[in-house]
């Protein structure tokens, strides 16, 4: 209820919406997107159709999302976010993506940013290999590229107050499975698909 309300508010404030939902309903999905602002995870999550949103957790930075009660509440109670430590490994020396693996085992979908960190000028950095490992470990995952535009202007790095500008989200069709595709080729293909959605002029259909 609160989650739906929050999602609606975010869609209203940033003007994002997803037109139609393709074949990817029901399966565990990995939504991966370019990263330009702290709003990114919130915006993708809000734009997803309700029944998918409730089954989707963003992968987010622990230091940012545990800073105050509001962020802790959103990441814990609303998002059920997977919080990762960015600096230094956890003490138990487990695999850095272990928390993500655990979440996928339960059948939930995730939102992830393969660039690893925000790109301040809105350009697309190289992808880290995390999403390739996910695909190797769970071959049945649906890999869905997402392009986000203008969010780095709505909330640039280092700013607190979001501007009421119009953002845009483009959800691409799932990446097809290519037999025997290597790591670099897969990452390049994934990155090119995300990049292709960043070219369009804002506000045009």
């Amino acid at each position: 209820m609160m989650a739906d309300l929050l999602a609606m508010l975010v869609r209203l404030a940033t003007g994002v919406s997803i037109g139609r939902v393709d074949s990817w309903t029901g399966k565990p999905c990995v939504f991966f997107a370019n990263h330009g602002s702290n709003l990114d995870a919130l915006v993708i999550w809000s734009a997803l159709p309700g029944e998918i949103r409730r089954e989707t957790s963003p992968v987010a930075a622990m230091d940012y999302w545990t800073k105050n009660w509001l962020r802790r509440w959103i990441s814990g109670e609303i998002f059920h976010a997977i919080l990762l430590q960015r600096k230094g490994r956890p003490d138990d020396r487990s695999h850095p993506l272990q928390a993500v693996y655990d979440m996928l085992e339960t059948g939930r979908s995730i939102i992830i940013f393969p660039e690893g960190t925000r790109s301040p000028d809105g350009s697309l950095n190289p992808f880290k290999p995390g999403i390739f490992h996910l695909k190797e470990k769970f071959p049945e995952l649906v890999m869905i590229p997402v392009s986000l535009q203008n969010l780095n202007r709505i909330l640039p790095k280092g700013q607190r107050l979001p501007l009421p500008l119009i953002g845009r989200i483009t959800v691409h069709p799932p990446l097809s499975h290519v037999e025997g595709e290597g790591r670099e080729d897969f990452l390049k293909r994934a990155r090119n698909t995300v990049a292709s959605g960043l070219q369009k002029t804002l506000c045009d259909e």
Partner: protein, 327 residues
């Protein structure tokens, strides 16, 4: 809401019902290649129902609700304007000031009827403030062009639009017809000019006026549309302080200003590579696509009416402002 207003609303209602029925018939008859065009017509009509409804309810409640409605319209228009005009990351702070402080403040000044301040606030104080706040960031790259874009956005989307609620409190010599009717006259004239130009253009349009700027505008559409609107304005003149001749002349001025307002905003939009300003209003595009003609016509209508029919508004602040600082 007085008797005249109810008659005018009834007229608008009749127009909307006609458009909806015509759209319904066309949709049933349309061949497959005309489907998209009819679909767009029907989307436009549906949006008109909503816009007319919101505007009527607002006018009915009076002065302050009108101020709030136009404040909201300005907010949405400025949002579209700044979204398409790629400002830089260093403009974040100054834009926050524009959206969250200058814009509401302008409408507050309109609301408290401090005419002397509201009519210069953005062109003087805003104009000075914007480059000052920007220079504090220390960024020199594209300084003038980004400053100018923000100032332009504030003038067209906020300052010009705020002249519409200002009509609500414009005191007029020897006339007590109610300013809501005057604002209604203005909005109805400019918007029906758009609609009639669209209809005449669709039916008889051949010679394009500005193929690069606005491919749908034709000589036949523009002339026919403006002529029809002038007739309509003469018909509405009895709810205004104007006699029929004055109403015709006033309609001509605001229709021409509106026409060029549409062309200017279209030129900006094309330069930025967009077809519409947004997609907030189904069938019409963005809020700016709907109000571009009102933007340029509103200050002209306000001032011309004020000069010739007004009592001369009081440029001094309301008494409580003096109370704050002592006099």
């Amino acid at each position: 809401m007085n008797k005249e207003m109810i008659w005018m609303m009834a007229g608008v209602l009749a127009l909307l019902v006609t458009a909806s029925v015509a759209g319904w018939i066309m949709a049933r008859r349309a061949s497959s290649e005309k489907k998209a065009s009819v679909e767009n017509f029907n989307a436009r009509t549906r949006s008109w129902w909503v816009m007319v409804g919101v505007f009527a309810v607002t006018l009915w409640f009076g002065h302050w609700t009108t101020v709030v409605l136009f404040c909201l319209i300005s907010f949405l228009a400025l949002r579209e304007f700044i979204t398409l005009n790629e400002t830089k990351g260093c403009d974040h702070k100054v834009l926050c000031w524009c959206f969250f402080v200058l814009l509401p403040l302008q409408y507050f000044l309109v609301g408290i009827q401090w005419y002397g301040m509201a009519s210069i606030f953005i062109p003087v104080y805003g104009f000075i403030f914007i480059p000052i706040r920007k220079v504090l960031t220390g960024e020199t790259r594209d300084f003038l062009s980004t400053t100018a874009k923000i100032q332009w956005g504030m003038l067209t989307c906020v300052y010009f639009v705020s002249h519409m609620p200002m009509i609500m409190t414009l005191p007029i010599k020897g006339w007590s017809g109610g300013n809501g009717a005057l604002l209604f006259f203005f909005v109805a004239t400019v918007q029906s000019s758009d609609v009639f130009q669209y209809c005449w253009g669709k039916m008889t349009g051949k010679h394009k006026i500005a193929p690069k700027l606005s491919p749908n505008k034709t000589v036949e559409g523009t002339v026919g549309g403006i002529a029809t609107t002038i007739l309509l304005a003469v018909g509405m003149s009895y709810v205004t302080p104007f006699n029929p001749w004055q109403a015709a002349l006033m309609a001509l001025v605001i229709c021409v200003a509106g026409f060029f307002g549409g062309l200017v905003m279209s030129a900006i939009k094309r330069d930025l590579g967009a077809k519409d300003w947004g997609n907030t209003i189904a069938g019409h595009g963005g809020v700016m696509d709907r109000i571009d003609s009102l933007c340029f016509a509103a200050p002209l209508f306000f001032h011309l009416t004020g000069f010739y029919f007004g009592t001369g508004m009081d440029p001094t602040p309301p008494d409580w402002v003096f109370g704050l600082f002592g006099k």
